[in-house]
Amino acid sequence: MAIPRNVSFTLNGKSVQVMVEPRELLIHTLREKLQHTGPHIGCETSHCGACTVDIDAMSVKSCTVLTVQCEGADVLTIEGLERNGQLHALQEAFTQDHALQCGYCTPGMITRAYRLLQENPQPTEQEIRYWMAGNLCRCTGYQNIVKAVQTAAAKLAAQPA
């Protein structure tokens, strides 16, 4: 029972291969086997969103996905947002607008905001609050997070395509 198997997928642009039992959760594979400790664990009931990653262009709670379900998938974590030493507009905006304090929700929050802005480049405040409601934060009260997403949206809109 529960024979481990090989799973191959792309992680932040690089091919990876892991050997996992079917029951192994993607969050554990990422954090322990693949040493990507950016996504965090904040609960075990799929509520907090600290484990959020981007899988095949979707924001997904990696604690509620089996690694074996990710064969061939394209996975993006917070570690993959900075490209060639250049921070993503969201990463810069979070610092500029003081959208983090303890930093624990931040990787999941930014990764989710990344997908949000891909799908809705100019969200209103209300839309941001609605579309980010899958990521809990205890420190910031969300107000500066909303501001940072707006700042990043404006910056991305101003960039040449």
Binding site: E21, R23, E24, H28, R31, E32, Q35, H36, T37, G38, P39, H40, I41, G42, C43, E44, T45, H47, C48, A50, T77, I78, E79, L81, E82, L87, Q91, F94, T95, Q96, H98, L100, Q101, C102, G103, Y104, C105, T106, P107, I110, I128, R129, Y130, M132, A133, G134, N135, L136, C137, R138, C139, T140, G141, Y142, Q143, N144, I145, V146
Partner: protein, 802 residues
């Protein structure tokens, strides 16, 4: 010729010191996912531990069978109380003067109490192992209602101390009684009540809630057999206190114990106590010789770690007909759970509850707290509360409204009539606290003007005429933070001073280490800003370190908003010691007397000859060279251990406007305006962030949080499915404002601020909800103000009929 003012401003800006909303230094790693939280740590050979927990709130343990668990592939060991007894670790002292079972010995006293510790190769095997441990229980009747705890025939919860006449805080009158603590003048207060024209009395519950930081508690304990050194990476807000307690517990010399607080994902008071999980991980590491990681789940966190509040209060005020309060009498029955485990200064087992006279000039006062054991998890002091200050402030701010309603006096006006006046500071309360500084009238007036209070009351009158529910909540609170002067404040005897050690390098950059422990408050930035302004060196070049007890000077950690008042003061004073030396050296280098020098932002200048001077950077290098005044050692370093002369008293004025749907009970926060006065403001951006966060936690507490139990002590809402953590969709919009009333006794006049929004916010929301029903003679409604509970009020008053 450059404009000297502009040049001066540029030099000032370059420092990014006090008062500057500079960006945070710690963000760089967090936005990249490169923080180092305890579950990120991996050491060679590390094993993983998980805890077997009791399904019952009160039961005898008949037997524990490890065999099946030990047979699970990957399980290495299973520890129970009997395995801890030979090393005297089955029980441990708590920070409240009691003892607590590390692993349950013969009986369990709260649901989810620790019974066994399974050590395995990885967390998957550990989880399987936990399920396979067989424990036989004999259930006992549970005490869940603290009002039943001292009944004549109540089941005895703490058989281990049944014969003890006291548990750290005075005589006990019943096996389930912990202590009775009182303060003030009972006879004098009673006399005033007996003859006062007006008295009000209200029972007010502060329900059990939980701080629920996003990161749960955990550790990696690593005992090195070869060197005898114990290293523990830990989610701890107070690493030095933990080190001392660990040494007392384990017998290992404190110099061979290293506690490391790295990045911590929120504390809010949840990460001060020493939990059984830490102790068993340490024991398991000693036994196995390899590192042991223990990380609790969210359900474990909500069910067993430091909860907050659970004070069943009675508030009484005696006043004149014009609302001028003559006396205050507050009592509370405290449900402390099965062990008294919460942070308590030895002299203050009920924390700083006696701050309950609040912002008001009340001549006579008396308060009493009776603490009892129940079959629930231990705790009580936690959650952004500065040692029971949330309980005290909630009581007084609710009672002000109760009194206002009884007398038909406007809720802002009754506060004005009772405020300590600006000219009365420093003001000593009837309980003996000396409020350092404040201007309550100015704060309230500013807020009321900002929200156009008059217009709001007019609008409320109109809405009431149409049968609609609109509430206006006011909270004018005074906090007491910055524990504290060692003659009054200690934990297990250790004084609550704090420290800062500064080393200045030849090239003008700085390393400073302090005894506090950030969990997101921005210390790496704010301490650097304090030191930058004191030393005239850019904060960008000032490295702050906390949390590693091998390196940091001794301190009591970060809780109760004490970092700025105590360690921030230590930082300023250590920097000033350096400046004394720097001035001497500058005078020597410039060949003038010290009296001929003046300080200008980042340099000493010769008075009357401004082109002659030495920058701080130049002095840094010079201090490491040979041309020094006779008798002066090289280097620019200082250490300050600061014993504060007093606590600090930040204050604020908040207004909240709510609209309630009388058919569903849903409450919408229309507006929340928060004015805070924390004295000197180090980084306005960081302060604002703290206010947002504290208000959101206050909103959560007032409007939805509870840790409910059934009559057998079983948890009814101990996961995030039920426990109310607002999302971005629920969190209201916050408006912030400030006044500045520096603390006269603090070196930089700063008071601390992070807990104020929580302490002041909770009664503000509550007052708003009750105010919505005030015209229907509702004097009080207990929290949480869920739609369900608010609807029950609407229904009782028949407001939901169409």
């Amino acid at each position: 010729m450059p404009d000297t003012n502009v040049v001066a401003r540029e030099r000032q800006d370059k420092l990014q010191g006090m008062g500057c909303s500079r960006k945070r230094k710690e963000d760089a790693r967090f936005i990249r996912g490169k923080g180092s939280y305890v579950d990120d740590i991996h050491l060679p050979g590390m094993l993983f531990g998980a805890i077997v927990r009791s399904p019952y709130a009160h039961a005898r343990i008949k037997s524990i069978n490890k065999a099946k668990a030990l047979a699970v592939p990957g399980v290495v060991a299973v520890l129970v109380a009997d395995d801890l007894k030979p090393v005297n670790l089955a029980w441990m002292p708590t920070l409240g003067g009691d003892v607590q079972a590390v692993l349950a010995d013969k009986k369990v006293c709260f649901q989810y109490q620790e019974v066994a510790f399974v050590v395995a190769n990885d967390r998957y095997a550990a989880a399987d192992g936990v399920e396979a441990v067989e424990v036989e229980y004999e259930e006992l009747p549970a005490i869940v209602d603290p009002r039943r705890a001292m009944d004549k025939n109540a089941p005895i919860i703490r058989e281990d101390i049944a014969d003890k006449k006291e548990v750290g805080h005075g005589p006990r009158t019943h096996p389930n009684h912990i202590f009775t603590w009182e303060a003030g003048d009972k006879a004098g207060t009673d006399a005033v009540f007996a003859s006062a024209p007006v008295t009000v009395r209200q029972e007010i519950l502060n329900p059990r809630v939980h701080p629920c930081p996003l990161e749960t508690c955990g550790c990696v304990a690593s005992f090195d057999k070869a060197t005898g050194q114990l290293t523990v990476f830990m989610t701890s807000q107070a690493p030095h206190l933990v080190r001392t307690v660990s040494s007392l517990l384990s017998g290992i010399a404190e110099s061979k114990i290293r506690i490391v607080g790295g990045d911590i994902g929120g504390g809010f008071g949840n990460k001060v106590a020493v939990y059984p999980g830490y102790v068993v991980a340490i024991v398991a590491s000693i036994v196995t010789g390899v590192p042991i990681k223990w990380i609790e789940s969210r359900i474990e966190n909500l069910s067993t770690t430091a909860f907050a509040r659970d004070y069943h209060g009675v508030g009484e005020l005696a006043a004149d007909k014009d609302g001028r309060i003559r006396a205050l009498r507050f009592t509370a029955l405290g449900d402390y759970g099965a062990f008294n485990a919460h942070v308590s200064a030895t002299k203050f087992p009920a924390g700083l509850f006696s701050i309950c006279t609040g912002s008001y000039d009340i001549p006579k006062a008396y308060c009493r707290v009776d603490a009892v054991y129940t079959n629930k998890a231990p705790g009580g002091v936690a959650y952004r509360c500065s040692l029971r200050v949330t309980e005290a402030v909630y009581l007084i701010e609710r009672m002000m409204d109760v009194l206002a309603q009884k007398l038909g006096i406007d809720k802002a006006e009754i506060r004005r009539r009772n405020f300590v006046k600006a000219e009365q500071f420093p003001y000593t309360t009837a309980f003996g606290w000396t409020l350092d500084s404040g201007n309550y009238h100015r704060a309230l007036d500013k807020v009321l003007q900002a929200v156009d209070y008059e217009a709001l009351r007019k609008e409320q009158a109109q809405k009431r005429a149409q049968g609609e529910l609109m509430g206006i909540g006011i909270s004018t609170f005074t906090e007491i933070v910055g524990a504290g002067p060692t003659k009054a404040c200690d934990i297990l005897g250790i004084g609550l001073f704090d420290s800062c050690e500064i080393r200045v390098h030849p090239t003008g950059s700085v390393m400073a280490r302090l005894g506090t422990m950030s969990q997101g408050q921005g210390h790496a930035t704010t301490y650097a800003q304090i030191i930058a302004t004191e030393l005239g060196l850019p904060s960008e070049d000032i490295q702050i370190e906390e949390g590693d007890t091998d390196k940091a000077p001794y301190g009591a950690g970060t809780w109760g908003s004490r970092s700025t008042p105590v360690a921030g003061a230590a930082a300023a004073r250590a920097a000033r010691k350096i400046m004394e030396k720097a001035k001497k050296l500058a005078a020597h280098l410039l060949e003038v007397g010290e009296g001929d020098l003046e300080w200008d932002i980042d340099r000493f200048r010769v008075k009357g000859n401004p082109s002659e001077g030495k920058t701080m950077k130049e002095i840094c290098m010079a201090a490491h060279q040979s041309n020094l005044p006779a008798g002066m050692e090289q280097g620019l370093n200082a250490v300050e251990y600061y014993d504060p002369p007093n606590l600090t008293f930040p204050f604020g004025a908040y207004v909240c406007v709510v609209d309630i749907d009388r058919f569903t009970g849903e409450t919408k926060v229309r507006r929340f305006y928060a004015l805070d006065d924390c004295g000197t403001r180090i980084n306005p951006m960081i302060i604002e962030g703290q206010i947002h966060g504290g208000l959101t936690e206050a909103f959560a507490v007032a409007m939805g949080q509870a840790i409910p139990f059934d009559e057998n002590g079983n948890h009814l809402g101990n996961s995030l499915l039920d426990y109310f953590l607002p999302t971005s969709a629920e969190a209201p919009h916050w408006e912030t404002d400030f006044t500045v009333t520096p603390s006269p006794h603090h070196p930089i006049g700063a008071k601390g601020v992070a807990e104020s929004p929580h302490v002041g916010g909770i009664p503000c929301f509550s007052n708003a909800v009750v105010d919505a029903f005030a015209h229907l003679d509702v004097a009080h409604m207990d929290m949480p103000h869920t739609s369900y509970r608010v609807w029950q009020q609407c229904n009782a008053l028949g407001l939901n009929k169409r």
